[in-house]
C-alpha cells in the first residue's frame, strides 16, 4: 500500500465532476441531446422497416438512440452502448450492424431493418422468430432482438448454414444467460422451416 494514500487528504470537487464525465458524456451526447449552435442539418429522412421516416437527428446521434428514443422502436436493445455485446444489432442493407456504434446521419441512403419489421403484414412471424420459439432459444430475452437480427442477416446470405457457420456468424452477439446452444438450435430450425 502506498503510504501517501493511507493519509487523510481532502480532495476538492474537481474529482467528482471529472469522474462523472468520463463514463457518461459520450453516452449522452450520443443520445442526441446536444443542442449545437450554428447550422447543422438535423431533419433527415431514413428508411426504417420499409418506411421513410422523417426525424430530427443531432449530428452525433447513434442509430440506436434514434430508433429507441425518437421512433419508439424499443425492440432494439442497449446492453453496452459501446460495440461489445450486439444487443442493438439491426440490419443495414442486409448486414448485421451495431446500432449503438453507427451515426444516424450516415444512414441517409441505407435500408434499416429492426426486429419490429420482421413480421409479415398478416402477423406471421419470420422463420427466425418461429425457430427461436420452437427451440425456446431466449432466456431473459434481452439479447434476443439482436440475436434475431444477426440470424436473419446470416440466413439471407447463407440460407442453409452449418452449425459452425451459424456460430461464427452469430459470434458478435453476447448472451449473458448463456443460451448460445439454444440460439444455434433456433437458427438451424429457422433454416429448416425458412
Amino acid at each position: 500500500m502506498n503510504p501517501k494514500l493511507t493519509r487523510r487528504r481532502f480532495i476538492k470537487g474537481v474529482i467528482a465532476s471529472g469522474a462523472a464525465a468520463t463514463t457518461t458524456t459520450m453516452w449522452y451526447a450520443a443520445n442526441g441531446q446536444d443542442r449545437p449552435t450554428g447550422f447543422v442539418e438535423r431533419l433527415i429522412r431514413i428508411n426504417v422497416n420499409g418506411q421513410e421516416r422523417s426525424v430530427d437527428v443531432a449530428p452525433q446521434e447513434t442509430l440506436a438512440s434514434t430508433l429507441r428514443y425518437k421512433l419508439g422502436l424499443t425492440g432494439t436493445k442497449l446492453g453496452c452502448n459501446r460495440g461489445e455485446c450486439g444487443a442493438c444489432t439491426v440490419l443495414v442493407d442486409d448486414t448485421p450492424t451495431y446500432a449503438c456504434s453507427v451515426l444516424t446521419h450516415s444512414m441517409k441512403f441505407a435500408r434499416i431493418e429492426t426486429v419490429e419489421g420482421l413480421e409479415a403484414p398478416n402477423g406471421d412471424l419470420h422463420a427466425v422468430q418461429q425457430g427461436f420459439i420452437d427451440q425456446l432459444s431466449p432466456q431473459c430475452g434481452y439479447c434476443t432482438p439482436g440475436q434475431v437480427m444477426s440470424a436473419v442477416g446470416l440466413l439471407r446470405a447463407n440460407p442453409n448454414p452449418t452449425r459452425e457457420e451459424a456460430r461464427q456468424a452469430m459470434a458478435g452477439n453476447i448472451c449473458r444467460c448463456g443460451s448460445y446452444d439454444s440460439y444455434l438450435d433456433g437458427v438451424m430450425r429457422a433454416a429448416e422451416i425458412g
Binding site: 500500500m1 494514500l5 470537487g13 467528482a16 426486429v115 427461436f132 430475452g141 434481452y142
Partner: protein, 807 residues
C-alpha cells in the same frame, strides 16, 4: 406418473414478446412529462462526503431537483455493509452519491459537472489479506468486517501470520467463524492420500445484459415503479420498505428482466431503483433513470473471491475421510455473502466427507459490491475440488468416475455441516447416466493423448445447490368463462418458471393449457408472495403453492357440486373442464357454471372468508383486492423439512494447445438430477446457460483493478471476458434423471445453479488431465497460466492474483 402438463414442453406466454421485441423492460417505458435522472458517483474507492454544493446546478435551466443521501436517510445511513440508495460514505468507485433530475440526460450531466462535492479521502484496500495485516487499511468506516447483528469489527493478523498464509500455509489466526462435524484428526490419520494446498478463486461481476434502469411516478398516492428484478412479489415486498411506502401503495411493474444471476433477487441488492422513486416524489414528475454498462458493473454486484487453504484426506478405498477448509472471502466494498461456508457445506454434501471443518473470515475490500452469484460458494469450490479428487484417484489407483461414485450422496444420506437429510438424492443415477451418454469408458482411454502440440483432457464434475423452499402462498381464480387464472408472483428472469410452476395448478384441475392464463408482470395484478427467485428454489417452492391453491379450488368445486347435485364431495372428480360424479359423469357442472355458483355463494368461495391464517401480508393485500371478484383457490404452503438438492454431472473432452494455452471444448454432456422434470426446454436452457457460466468461471472471467488508485478496469464485457459463442462448445448435450422427490407434489426440485458448478468442475479437471494431473488450485485457469506452467514457471498460486489484479 403420467401427467398432462408436467414434463411437457409448452410455449411460455412471454416468448413471442421476446422474439418480436414487443415485451417491455423497464427502460422501454415512457410517461407523459417524464424527466431524466443521472448519477454523480464516487470517483475514489473510500471516502466521506464532507459537503455538496449544488447551487449552480440547481439554478440551471431544465434542472428539476437533486436527491442526496441526506434526503433518503434523514436519520443517517444504516451502519451496515448493505448497498445504500445513495451514500455519503462510499466504499467503492462508482457508488452513487447523488442524483439530479433534468429535462434530459445531457442537462442532468451538465448540472452534475457543476456540482462541487468535497470528499475526505480515506485509506482503501484492494486485497483483503492486506487489510487483515496489523496496521493494514480497512475497507469500511469502523473496521474491515461486519458481524451479523453486532456491527463493524476489525480482524487483524500479525505480519508473520499473513506472511505464512501468503506462503501457502494453513492460517494460524483465530477464525471469525468455525463449524465442524466428525473427527477430523482421525479422518486424516486414516487417510492413505492427503492433499493440502492454498487456493484462490476470482470474484467477478454478474454483468446482466439489461442495465438496471428504472422509471417511477406517483399517482393518487401510489408509487408506480418500472424496474428490473429476478423476483416479482418478493422484491416488491422488500422495495416498499426501502422506498418507505406502504406495501399496498406500491405497484411494481416488471414484465421482463434482462438477467439476474443472483443479483436482482432481493430489494437490498438493487436499491438504486429507489432513486427515481424518491426523486419523482420530490419533484412530482415521472423520472427515468437509465443506467449505463459501467454503472451496471459498479453497483451491479459481483461474486465473492476466495483466498483459502484446503486439506482433503482420502482412505485407501477412495472415500473422502476428511475435509478441512480455511477461507478468507472478499466481501467487497458493499454487500457480502456466505459463499465460504456454502462452499464447505457443498463438499460435505457432494462427496459425503466423513469429517468436515470450516473456518473463515469475510474481509472487505474497496472493490465491487458483492452478493449472491449463481451457486455462491458451491460453484467456486466445485472447480477447486474436482482436480484434487482426480489426483486422489490417480494416487490410489481408482478410476475418476469410480471415486465419485463411491463418495456419492444418495437418498437416505445426510449432508452439510448440520447433517441434514436429503428429501431425495439420485446422484448415483446422474453419474451413471452422464457416463453412459459420454461413453466414459471409451473416452477415458483418450486421456492425455497427444496430437502435435494438442493434448486431450477428459474431465468429470459434479454440481450442487440446495434447490427448494416452502412456506409461501398461492392464489388462483376462475370466472364464469371457466378459464383458470394462475396468479404467480415469480419473477420473469428467463427461466420461464413463472409459467412452468403455474402448470402445477393446471395439472390438478386437468385444464388444457390454452384455457389457462398466467397473471403476473405487475403487482397490481394481485399476486401472492413468493420466496425470492434465487437459490434454484422456484420450481420446488412454487409448484407447491400453485398445486396447493388448485387443490383448494378442486375441493371447493366438489363441495359446490355435491351441495347442488347431491352426494358427497368425495363422489366427485374433474375432467374436461367439468366437475362431475365419478359414478355417472353426466351428473356435473362445467367449470364456468361452478365458478358462477361460487360467486353467488361468496364467502370462502370468493376469498371473502375462511382464508388460511398464515397468509403473508403481501398475499393478504392481494386476496383482499380480489375477494368477491371470482371463484378463488388460495393456499398457504406449510414448511417442509430436509434438503431438496439440485444436482448435475458434467463430462467433457477438451483439446489443450500446449503452445498457446488455448482450450477447445470438443464435447460436453450435462445431466440434471432435479426430481421430476417440469419443463424440458426450460431445464435444457438452465443446463446450457449454467454451462456457459461454468466455462466463464473456469477459464475466463475476472475482475481487474488498478491497485494504485482502486479504479476498476473491467467495467465492460470485453475486459470481464464474458464467454461468447466462440468460447463455448458447438453443442452441449443435456439429459436428466427424472425421478420424483417426495416433498414436492409433482416431484420437482430446482437446478439453475448446479449446472455451472459441474461444468467448471469438469473443465478444470479436464485441463488438469491434459497437463498430466497438474492442479492449478485457482480459477480461472487462464491461457498464460497454462503456458507458464508448461514453460516450467510455477504460478499456480499467487495470492489474490487471480482475484482482483491479474490480466
Amino acid at each position: 406418473m403420467a401427467y398432462m402438463h408436467i414434463g411437457k414442453d409448452f410455449v411460455p406466454p412471454d416468448v413471442a414478446g421476446k422474439v418480436t421485441g414487443r415485451i417491455k423492460y423497464s427502460e422501454d417505458y415512457t410517461r407523459e412529462g417524464m424527466v431524466y435522472a443521472r448519477l454523480l458517483t464516487s470517483p475514489i474507492p473510500h471516502a466521506k462526503v464532507v459537503s455538496i454544493d449544488a447551487s449552480e446546478a440547481l439554478a440551471m435551466e431544465g434542472v428539476f431537483g437533486i436527491l442526496t443521501a441526506d434526503d433518503v436517510y434523514p436519520d443517517g445511513e444504516a451502519n451496515s455493509t448493505g448497498l445504500k440508495i445513495l451514500t455519503n460514505e462510499p466504499t467503492l468507485v462508482g457508488e452513487p452519491i447523488l442524483a439530479v433530475a433534468a429535462v434530459d440526460e445531457k442537462t442532468a450531466e451538465t448540472a452534475i459537472a457543476a456540482i462541487t462535492v468535497t470528499f475526505e479521502r480515506l485509506p482503501f484496500v484492494m486485497d483483503p489479506v492486506d487489510s487483515l495485516e496489523e496496521g493494514g487499511p480497512d475497507a469500511y468506516n469502523g473496521g474491515n468486517t461486519f458481524v451479523f447483528r453486532e456491527g463493524f469489527a476489525q480482524e487483524k493478523w500479525t505480519s508473520d501470520q499473513v506472511a505464512s498464509f501468503r506462503a501457502g500455509n494453513e492460517p494460524t489466526a483465530e477464525p471469525a467463524a468455525e463449524l465442524s462435524y466428525g473427527d477430523l484428526e482421525a479422518g486424516f490419520a486414516n487417510s492413505a492420500f492427503v492433499y493440502e494446498t492454498p487456493f484462490t478463486t476470482a470474484g467477478y461481476p454478474h454483468m446482466s445484459m439489461e442495465p438496471r434502469s428504472a422509471m417511477a411516478y406517483w399517482e393518487d398516492g401510489k408509487l408506480y415503479l418500472h424496474g428490473t428484478s429476478q423476483s416479482l412479489t418478493a422484491l416488491a415486498d422488500g422495495m416498499a420498505g426501502i422506498v418507505g411506502v406502504p406495501k399496498e401503495d406500491l405497484v411494481f411493474i416488471n414484465a421482463a428482466t434482462g438477467g439476474g444471476f443472483g443479483q436482482r433477487a432481493r430489494a437490498g441488492s438493487i436499491p438504486s431503483m429507489a432513486i427515481p422513486a424518491k426523486l419523482s416524489q420530490k419533484i412530482n414528475r415521472p423520472v427515468m433513470m437509465r443506467c449505463t454498462r459501467e454503472e451496471e458493473f459498479t453497483i451491479g454486484g459481483a461474486r465473492q473471491g476466495f483466498q483459502g487453504w484446503i486439506k482433503l484426506g482420502f482412505k485407501q478405498d477412495g472415500t473422502m475421510a476428511a475435509a478441512d477448509l480455511w477461507i478468507v472471502s472478499d466481501n467487497g466494498g458493499k454487500g457480502g455473502g456466505g459463499d465460504a461456508f456454502s462452499a464447505t457445506n457443498a463438499i460435505s454434501i457432494v462427496y459425503q466427507a466423513e469429517a468436515v471443518r470450516f473456518r473463515g473470515v469475510s474481509i472487505g475490500s474497496n472493490t465491487a459490491h458483492r452478493g449472491a452469484q449463481r451457486g455462491p460458494g458451491e460453484n467456486q469450490i466445485a472447480a477447486i475440488v474436482s482436480p484434487i479428487l482426480d489426483k486422489a484417484a490417480e494416487e490410489l489407483g481408482i478410476d475418476r468416475l469410480e471415486i465419485r461414485k463411491l463418495n456419492t450422496p444418495q437418498t437416505g444420506d445426510v449432508g452439510g455441516i448440520n447433517r441434514q437429510p436429503f428429501t431425495s438424492a439420485y446422484m448415483p443415477e446422474a453419474l451413471e447416466q452422464a457416463a453412459t451418454a459420454f461413453n466414459w469408458e471409451e473416452r477415458i482411454t483418450r486421456s492425455r493423448q497427444r496430437n502435435g502440440s494438442k493434448v486431450t483432457g477428459i474431465g468429470i464434475g459434479q454440481g450442487y445447490h440446495n434447490a427448494g423452499r416452502s412456506g409461501m402462498d398461492g392464489i388462483i381464480m376462475m370466472g364464469p368463462d371457466g378459464r383458470l387464472r394462475v396468479h404467480n408472483g415469480v419473477g420473469n428472469l428467463g427461466t420461464y418458471s413463472y409459467a412452468s410452476t403455474s402448470r402445477a395448478a393446471a395439472e390438478v384441475l386437468k385444464m388444457p393449457w390454452d384455457r389457462c392464463d398466467v397473471i403476473t408482470g405487475r403487482t397490481d395484478n394481485h399476486l401472492p408472495i413468493t420466496s425470492p427467485q434465487d437459490g434454484s428454489n422456484s420450481i420446488f417452492t412454487n409448484t407447491r403453492t400453485c398445486f396447493g391453491a388448485a387443490q383448494d379450488m378442486l375441493a371447493k368445486m366438489k363441495e359446490i357440486a355435491a351441495a347442488d347435485l347431491g352426494g358427497d364431495p368425495a363422489d366427485y372428480d374433474v375432467s374436461n373442464e367439468r366437475v362431475h360424479q365419478i359414478a355417472d359423469d353426466t351428473v356435473g357442472m362445467t367449470f364456468g357454471e361452478v365458478a358462477q355458483r361460487a360467486m353467488e355463494l361468496g364467502g370462502k368461495y370468493t376469498g371473502e372468508a375462511e382464508l388460511p391464517e398464515e397468509l403473508a401480508e403481501w398475499t393478504q393485500i392481494s386476496v383482499s383486492r380480489l375477494a368477491g371478484s371470482g371463484f378463488m383457490g388460495v393456499y398457504h404452503d406449510p414448511r417442509h423439512s430436509n434438503n431438496p438438492p439440485g444436482f448435475t454431472v458434467t463430462c467433457t473432452e477438451i483439446e489443450l494447445d500446449t503452445e498457446t494455452g488455448k482450450i477447445e471444448i470438443l464435447d460436453m454432456v450435462s445431466i440434471a438430477e432435479c426430481g421430476t422434470v417440469v419443463h424440458p426446454q426450460g431445464l435444457k436452457n438452465q443446463l446450457v446457460g449454467g454451462g456457459v457460466w461454468g466455462i466463464g468461471m473456469s477459464v475466463l472471467e475476472r475482475h481487474l483493478y488498478d491497485p494504485q488508485n482502486g479504479l476498476p478496469a473491467s467495467t465492460g464485457y470485453w475486459q470481464s471476458k464474458i464467454p461468447t459463442y466462440l468460447d463455448t462448445p458447438l453443442k452441449i448435450d443435456t439429459g436428466w434423471v427424472d425421478l420424483p422427490d417426495p416433498e414436492n407434489p409433482v416431484g420437482a426440485r430446482g437446478v439453475g445453479e448446479p449446472s455451472m458448478g459441474s461444468v467448471s468442475a469438469a473443465l478444470n479437471a479436464a485441463v488438469s488431465d491434459a497437463l498430466d494431473g497438474h492442479v492449478f488450485n485457482a480459477t480461472p485457469v487462464t491461457t498464460d497460466m497454462i503456458v507458464n506452467h508448461i514453460a516450467g514457471i510455477s504460478e499456480e498460486w499467487v495470492p489474490l492474483a487471480q482475484n482482483n489484479f491479474r490480466g
